[in-house]
C-alpha cells in the first residue's frame, strides 16, 4: 500500500509566559491510503496538538520541528499560501466541539460555498449546491437543510455537518480530533457509523484522535498510543489488543471492563501526567509504571523494534 502522509521526528513546543511546554517529542508514524490510524491517550498527552500540526493549525506561540511529509513536501515548511491550498481540499479536519466550530451567523450552505470557493473560484452556485448536498447526504443530513443556520441544529447534527464539510472536496486525509467526545452516547454511535461508512465508500485515510479505546477497536487499523507527548507504542490493532507491549498500554486495556470505556476509566491508572514544562530525565511513565526498573529513572528509552512493532520501553531493550 502507498503511504499517504508520513510524520517524522515531530516535536512541538509551546512557549508560555512561565516556561516552555514540550507538548510532543519525537513522534513518528505514517498513514497509508484507505487506512485508519488512531492516536490514543489521556487528555493533555499531545494527541490533539499532533493532529492540528498536520494542518499547520498550531497557535503562534507553538514551534514544530521534524517533518510532516505529504505528497513529497514537508507541511511544516510550507508557506501560508501553500498550506492554505491543502487545507480542506487535500487534508481536512473534524473538531472536537461541533457547537462552536460552525460560524453562528452563516448558513450551512455558506460554509460549503466558502470551502469550495477557497479552492476553485470558478465553480458556479448550482455545482456548489450539488457538492454540498452530496456531502451532507453522505453524512446523514438532509440536503434540504442547506439554508439553515447552525443554531437550528443539534450537536450531533452539527458534527455531521462538520464531517460533510471535511469530506466535501474528497480529501485524501481526514483528521478527526475527538469527534464524538462532546456528544451523548447514542449520537456518538451514529457519528462513528458515519465515519465507518466513509472508510468503506471513499478512498481516504483517517487519523482518528481519541481517548476512547472502544472506538479504536471499532474502526482503527493501526494504533499509536501516546503518553506525555511521546508515542509509547505503535502497532496494528490486532496485535495491540492481543498482546500489548508497553506497560501503559497494558494498564489501559486492563482498566477496560468491557471494550467500551469513557474518559473516566483512564484515570484508574494511579498517578498523573508529568509536568510538561520541566520533564525529568528518564522514562516519562516511570512514576506510574508497575514494572519500573533502575534504568528507567536514568535514561530515556529509545524506540525499540520488537517483532515488527515499535515500543518505547526499557523492558524490551
Amino acid at each position: 500500500m502507498d503511504t499517504n502522509i508520513e510524520i517524522k521526528n515531530l516535536s512541538i513546543e509551546y512557549r508560555m509566559r512561565n516556561g516552555t511546554v514540550h507538548a510532543v517529542r519525537d513522534a513518528d508514524f505514517s498513514v497509508d491510503k484507505k487506512e485508519t490510524l488512531s492516536i490514543v491517550g489521556e487528555s493533555g498527552c499531545g494527541k490533539s496538538t499532533t493532529g492540528h500540526a498536520i494542518l499547520k493549525l498550531l497557535p503562534s506561540n507553538a514551534r514544530a520541528t521534524g517533518s510532516i511529509i505529504y505528497n513529497g513536501k514537508n507541511i511544516l515548511t510550507m508557506s501560508n499560501n501553500e498550506i492554505r491550498q491543502i487545507r480542506g481540499k487535500h487534508i481536512s479536519i473534524v473538531f472536537q466541539d461541533p457547537m462552536t466550530s460552525l460560524d453562528p451567523i452563516m448558513r450551512v450552505k455558506d460554509h460549503f460555498f466558502e470551502l469550495i470557493k477557497a479552492h476553485d473560484s470558478k465553480v458556479n452556485e448550482q455545482e456548489m449546491i450539488e457538492i454540498a448536498s452530496c456531502a451532507l447526504e453522505a453524512s446523514g443530513v438532509s440536503a434540504k437543510r442547506l439554508n439553515n443556520y447552525p443554531f437550528e441544529f443539534s450537536g450531533g447534527m452539527r458534527q455531521r455537518v462538520m464531517i460533510a464539510l471535511a469530506i466535501a472536496l474528497q480529501p485524501s486525509v481526514i483528521v478527526a480530533d475527538e469527534p464524538t467526545t462532546s456528544l451523548d452516547v447514542v449520537v456518538q454511535e451514529q457519528i462513528m457509523e458515519v465515519l465507518k461508512n466513509l472508510k468503506r465508500t471513499k478512498d481516504m485515510s483517517i487519523i482518528l484522535i481519541t481517548h476512547d479505546l472502544g472506538i479504536v477497536a471499532e474502526v482503527a487499523d493501526k494504533v499509536a498510543v501516546m503518553y506525555a507527548g511521546e508515542i509509547v507504542e505503535y502497532a496494528d490493532i490486532y496485535n495491540l489488543y492481543k498482546n500489548p507491549l508497553h506497560p501503559y498500554t497494558q494498564l489501559l486495556l486492563k482498566s477496560v471492563p468491557n471494550i467500551k470505556i469513557g474518559d473516566m476509566e483512564l484515570h484508574n491508572i494511579p498517578g498523573s501526567l508529568p509536568d510538561l514544562k520541566n520533564i525529568p530525565q528518564g522514562c516519562r511513565f516511570r512514576d506510574r509504571c508497575p514494572m519500573v526498573k533502575d534504568i528507567c529513572k536514568k535514561e530515556t528509552p529509545p524506540i525499540i523494534d520488537k517483532d515488527g512493532r515499535k515500543v518505547r520501553c526499557w523492558l524490551y531493550g
Partner: protein
C-alpha cells in the same frame, strides 16, 4: 419571529424609556430651584407681570397638572413657543436639525472607519507594534477634550496653514439654491452646484474630524477587543482549516461576528457623540441644535431649552432602536 414583528416590539419597548427621560427633563426644568419666569424677566420685574407670565406659561397650575399638559403637548408635537423669537420651538428645531445631523453623520463615518480598520488591524496583529500603537492611540485620544482638539485643528489648519475655514457651515452666499434635505453637502450635489458642494465639505472637514477622531478612540478599543475575541474562537480555526485566506477570515468571520456587540456599544456611544456634538458645534459656531441649546440657555429661553433636550432624547431613542434592528438583521439568533 419575523424582522417586522421584532422591530415593532422593539419600538414598543422603548416607550417607557422615553417616558422616563421626559419625566426627568420635566423634573429638572420645572421642579428644580430657579424660577424660569424670574430668570427671564429679572428679579426687579413687577409681580403683576410675573404672574401674568406664569399664567401664560401654565406655571400657576399644580405641578402634576403641568406634567400631564407637558406630556400631552409633546405627544402631539407641540414643543411650545420660544420666548426669544416667538417662533414655535419645533419649527426652529426642525430647521436646525439638518446641520446637527450632517455633523454627527460625517463624524460617525470617520469614527466608525477609523475604529473598524484600526481596531481590527490591531487585533489581527495582536502584540505587535500596530497593536501597541492602537492601544496608545485609544488611551491618548480618549483624554482629548473635544473642544480643545477642535481649537487645535482651527489653529493649525485655519490660522497657521490657511487651508480650511474655522467656523460656520458655509461661506457667505454659498448656500444651495434649492434645499431638499437641509444637508448642504447633499443639496448642493442634487442641485449640481459643485462650487457650493466644495464649500460645504470644506466647512465640514474640521468639525467632523474633531468629533470623529475623539469618538474613534473608544471605537478602536471596542473593535479591537471584540475582534480579538472572535479571532480566538473555534469557528475561525475551522474556517482556516477549510483553506480560507486570512484576510477573509478577518473580515467575513471575525469582524462580522464581532459586529453585534460593536454596534451595540457604538449605539451607546452615540449619546457621547451627541454630547460631543454640542461642544463641537459651540467650538465651530456650527448652527445646529447644540449651538441652539447653548445660545438659548444664555437667553433664558426655557421652552427652547426644554424642546432641544426632549429632541435629543428622541434622537437617542431612535438611534438605539436602529442599532438593535441592524443587529437583528446581521445576527439571526437575535430575532428568534
Amino acid at each position: 419571529m419575523k424582522l417586522k414583528t421584532y422591530i415593532l416590539t422593539r419600538i414598543l419597548l422603548s416607550i417607557p424609556m422615553i417616558l422616563i427621560i421626559l419625566t426627568i427633563v420635566f423634573f429638572v426644568l420645572r421642579v428644580l430651584p430657579g424660577n424660569p419666569v424670574l430668570a427671564m424677566l429679572g428679579p426687579k420685574a413687577p409681580p403683576e407681570i410675573i404672574h401674568a407670565m406664569e399664567h401664560q406659561m401654565g406655571l400657576d397650575k399644580p405641578i402634576i397638572v403641568q406634567y400631564f399638559i407637558y406630556l400631552s403637548h409633546i405627544a402631539v408635537g407641540n414643543f411650545g413657543t420660544s420666548t426669544y423669537t416667538s417662533l414655535p420651538v419645533l419649527q426652529e428645531l426642525v430647521q436646525k436639525f439638518p446641520a446637527t445631523f450632517e455633523l454627527t453623520f460625517y463624524s460617525m463615518i470617520i469614527a466608525v472607519s477609523i475604529g473598524i480598520f484600526f481596531g481590527s488591524y490591531a487585533a489581527y496583529n495582536f502584540g505587535k507594534p500596530a497593536d501597541i500603537l492602537a492601544r496608545v492611540y485609544s488611551i491618548f485620544v480618549y483624554s482629548f477634550p473635544v473642544f480643545w482638539f477642535g481649537i487645535m485643528l482651527q489653529l493649525i489648519f485655519g490660522v497657521w496653514l490657511h487651508w480650511l475655514p474655522v467656523s460656520g457651515r458655509s461661506s457667505p452666499f454659498m448656500i444651495p439654491n434649492h434645499i431638499y434635505t437641509g444637508i448642504y453637502s447633499i443639496d448642493a450635489l442634487l442641485n449640481g452646484q459643485f462650487d457650493i458642494f466644495v464649500d460645504a465639505v470644506r466647512h465640514l472637514i474640521l468639525p467632523s474630524v474633531t468629533l470623529g477622531v475623539v469618538i474613534s478612540s473608544i471605537f478602536v478599543r471596542m473593535v479591537r477587543s471584540n475582534v480579538l475575541l472572535a479571532l480566538s474562537s473555534q469557528y475561525v480555526i475551522a474556517a482556516r482549516a477549510r483553506g480560507e485566506s486570512e484576510r477573509k477570515i478577518l473580515f467575513k468571520h471575525a469582524l462580522k461576528n464581532a459586529m453585534p456587540p460593536i454596534l451595540t456599544i457604538m449605539g451607546l456611544q452615540f449619546a457621547l457623540l451627541l454630547a460631543g456634538a454640542i461642544l463641537t458645534e459651540t467650538t465651530f459656531s456650527w448652527p445646529g441644535i447644540g449651538n441652539y441649546l447653548i445660545t438659548r440657555i444664555s437667553y433664558r429661553d426655557f421652552p427652547a431649552i426644554q424642546g432641544a433636550i426632549v429632541f435629543f432624547a428622541f434622537f437617542v431613542a431612535f438611534i438605539s432602536i436602529l442599532v438593535d434592528i441592524i443587529n437583528a438583521w446581521i445576527d439571526p439568533r437575535i430575532r428568534y
